[in-house]
Symmetry: C2
Subunit: 288 residues, 2 copies
Amino acid sequence: MKKSRVAIQGGPASFHDAAARQLLPGMPLEVAHCDTFSSLCVALQQGETDAAVMAIENTLAGSLLLNYSLLQEHRLHITAELWLSIDQNLMALPGQRIADIRTVSSHPVALAQCKGFLQRHPHLQPQVTHDTADSAKAIQEQGLMATAAIAGKAAAELYGLEILAENIADSLQNHTRFLLLQREQPEVPADADKAIVVFRKPLHTSTLTLLLSLLQKHQVELTLLQTLPAGEGRAQLVAEVEAPHVSHLQQAIAQVRPLVEDLQVLGILKQAARPQTSTVTKETAAIL
Amino acid sequence: MKKSRVAIQGGPASFHDAAARQLLPGMPLEVAHCDTFSSLCVALQQGETDAAVMAIENTLAGSLLLNYSLLQEHRLHITAELWLSIDQNLMALPGQRIADIRTVSSHPVALAQCKGFLQRHPHLQPQVTHDTADSAKAIQEQGLMATAAIAGKAAAELYGLEILAENIADSLQNHTRFLLLQREQPEVPADADKAIVVFRKPLHTSTLTLLLSLLQKHQVELTLLQTLPAGEGRAQLVAEVEAPHVSHLQQAIAQVRPLVEDLQVLGILKQAARPQTSTVTKETAAIL
């Protein structure tokens, strides 16, 4: 069976890696590890891979606005999405305890998400790296004692590290949404109920009012609206919308198109199950 | 004359530092340098400073969504805004030429903004640091030869470095918007023509349609709308609006308030002059 080539951002056992395997299940994958979101788009656009997987939103950090601009510039197509729960864990070479650890290395976002844990263990010195999973890899490869990484469980498994503390992020509401990207526009699936579009000015209150009344007429709900960075020739707004049936989406898009400039459909797809929006925080969970 | 204490993110001669001096002109300043936007908010909220200056948007990178959430959480007030042109320059110890340089250190965002320049000079090895101006400081303090920093001109001046190449960013459209923050709600200025508000659900198409028609009635133009990260109890949308007179803003806000949950006015202020939206890129500018 021929392997499917997929570009991701980050290394083996990263969260992108896990997302790729869930978005392309049951398929032998050849994963191309890219340093940046930009190089990931180039790899797919130039035919080096068959697909790409890109993070677009995190419940704690918000939308990755520049990634929408990249999708528009590279004319890529969104064909599926996935919400993945992000678990941050403290891991080190086997046989050590938290008291033995001095340095904790990870990506700055992961370190920031575990701020409370680090404050409760003031003997741990944070050290910034470029990737969560690669921090775990460095500990294994260099046999680093007294050093721990913050990363997903998959990284501990891959690099033979022991988990010293599980789920150490400040909030349990840490979920990232990933998009599956393809170079060619696929056929719209019959069960599609979501569209992601970008468009340019005019952003006048009157135009937006008209635009929204059109959406309402077609039972289309706006679920996300963002203003994008105003680069030259770029889209300026991105909208994610949902509707009971794909025909509602297509009719609404056709009627909205003349009201705005340069409307581009990034994808018409089946929406992914949203993460549970439990309001139980780490503290209340401990009490319950 | 008593010095005014202002918290900024970054070190002396950083872009935040320049923004603070323009937002508080003719005032002797005592600047508190904070590592993160979060600690900047805490410094102001706890009364360690009288004001704070915070970046909120860059023309190339887009809105800093988490900063709106921080303003809401810390109940701070926006009293003014400023657009600052961001110039990136290559600087080193005096007497060296570009051919003598091997390492170029700067903040990852600045390095990314100068990608074209670095590609045209492949003998330069980028090195990631946490701040543009502090990269210049390190060169002076440690007497580093064959090393250059990418930073604003003010950093070259402060640390006695020579500029080897001016304005090396890929795009000349590099502007950052900064907000002046205060702890107490000030009196609304009579010439205010802009409001920044955050609010929570419901984000239904029908509610938004009604909300926009209210804005239209009061001649209020929506200039920016962003969906914020869905943290617990946080605002979920931020809107920036402009109107010919402050009374229009106040009436529109009063009528919109019952339609949404937890509307919070972050600021009513005089809008800053927008940067020139010339479409002259570096390449065409060189031809002209």
